[in-house]
Amino acid sequence: MKGVNRAQASWMKGERLFATALVAPGVIALLVTTTAPLVYLLWTSLHAANLSMPWVKGFVGLDHYVHMLGDGRFWDSLRLTAIYTVTTVVLQVLIGLGLALLVLQIPHGQWLFRLVAILPIVLAPVVVGLFWRTLMLSPSFGLFDIFTTQVFGRSYNWLGDPTLALISVILIHTWQWTAFAFLVLLAGLASIAPDLYEAARIDRAGAFARFRYITLPLIRPAIMIVIIMRAVVALSAFAAIYAATGGGPGTATQILNLYAYQTSFVALDFGYGSAQAVALLILTLAVSAALFRLRRPKGWA
């Protein structure tokens, strides 16, 4: 008995060693390529590192963070980040879920929807931003503008007016990424056993009751995953906004991510830019942690 235990123990010890050896390259690579730069980011955020004033050097403690709290543009970029993230995620989930429910009712040709949905997903966001900036939203020659001048008799400055520009970048993001929500939710819906609906139909449950009490609880985990993944991406959205508006007009579409970029690489204040990036990092981790907590239905362990 003892001998067996010892053999088992040595087998398990071997397994642990083997597992550690397999994971080690990955974990070391991540420590070196992600965690070390982050530590350096943190270090930079506590120092004066402004390339336009290279003679000012040294440790400044939390000065950048204190400055950030009093910086109106920071709070404004935070407000834009909140608007951008919430609206794009909500739109993606609502339209994605709605379309998935519609497509499931179609007897033939569902494959076509699955196929076309891949198109926006594989496009580079910078290309999407450029397409919309030129072909779709550009004044006079963009399709949107041609449409509105023909139908409503007036031209809108889609990317030049602060409010319209914000709406535009939200729509651009939603256009590209709703396909992701659609595909994930369609697969989730398709995996719900049809007998559940049969049983409900026998119990004379209406369409809304079936959706509310069968579909929604069962699709909830998939919805939560979509929300988490899309929120993290929206918080760090860059290329499409950069290409479409560059954060403008003025700072009308400058979400925190773009503000941190602008502070670092345009104003060359790497110290303050790093502090803003740290703020975005904390925000992202806090949002994803909160969403992960919400993931389990209430009453579950």
């Binding site: 397994e15 642990r16 390529t33």
Partner: protein, 283 residues
């Protein structure tokens, strides 16, 4: 009876119409880019937009081999994306097996660490990388770009591969253990053939993410090493109104991505959904 049948048929038609309208919204900008790419530059700016025109391949020729050729930048993107993908897969596949199947000391903590690294905002990395690569003279080099691309492809690939590893039936390893196959041999001869499809999907996703990346590319590369996404951007900022050429160039750069997306279509849906359908069983 006929009234109800008619109503149902009407509802079906309405549903199909709604769904098709959304489909059109997705496909249209890409279709329109294709139309514009076939026009001459002066025709692009004609008002109202001409629907009947003599299509020309001039823009495709110019952006492929002519004055505006983007082939060099596509080559750059290809090298960076291929090497980064290869490195990623080599590191991620063994790690994912350990995470999914083996008793790993502090496995939960390490799994959480990998997940956390996937959520890092890229701007938090591009700032330190710019300073670091600048001080070691690796800005605008292949080595620098490849290392930077590991930061997002590695956590993603580990995470995705874990879900494929979990699908391998446990009996396979047990049978191999009874046959006294070494652990390494089990991984190589028993597990890897089972997850070939998963590896292919991971390769597609990682390659795609590298090819489409912009923030690192625009800030950490330059004149020597310029990925195709930066070339696209420069196209508009330098050549303000050459929309037809921009469209042609963008399509040339993106059509390969669409092709691998279509080719891996069934798997791509699985790749996106594998975590979600299982109720997000990730740590």
């Amino acid at each position: 009876m006929t009234g109800r049948g008619l109503r149902r048929r009407l509802a079906k038609a309405l549903i199909t119409a709604c769904a098709t309208a959304i489909l059109a919204v997705w496909a249209f900008p890409i279709f329109w880019a294709f139309v514009v790419a076939l026009k001459s530059e002066s025709e692009v700016l004609a008002f109202p937009p001409s629907l009947v025109f003599t299509p020309t391949l001039r823009n495709f020729i110019d952006t492929l081999v002519g004055r505006f050729s983007i082939l060099p930048e596509m080559g750059t993107s290809l090298v960076i994306s291929l090497v980064a993908t290869l490195l990623t897969i080599t590191i991620a596949v063994p790690a994912s097996y350990a995470f999914a199947r083996l008793r790993l000391p502090a496995g939960k903590l390490l799994g959480f660490y990998v997940l956390a690294t996937q959520m890092l905002p890229p701007v938090g990395l591009v700032i330190p990388y710019f300073l670091i690569l600048n001080s070691v003279g690796l800005l605008d080099t292949y080595q620098g770009m490849i290392v930077v691309y590991l930061t997002f492809s590695l956590p993603f690939a580990i995470w995705l591969m874990v879900s494929f590893m979990e699908d391998v039936p446990r009996e396979m390893e047990e049978a191999a253990a009874i046959d006294r196959a070494s652990r390494l041999k089990t991984l190589w001869y028993v597990i890897l053939p089972q997850v070939r499809g998963g590896i292919a999907v991971t390769v597609v996703f990682v390659f795609l993410n590298c090819w489409d990346e912009f923030l690192f590319a625009v800030q950490l590369s330059g004149n020597r090493v310029r990925p195709v996404t930066v070339a696209m951007y420069n196209f508009v900022s330098v050549e303000q109104t050459l929309w037809a050429k921009l469209s042609a160039a963008a399509l040339i750069a993106m059509v390969p991505m669409m092709a691998i997306g279509f080719a891996a279509q069934r798997h791509i849906v699985k790749g996106l959904t594998v975590g979600a359908v299982k109720g997000g069983g990730r740590r």
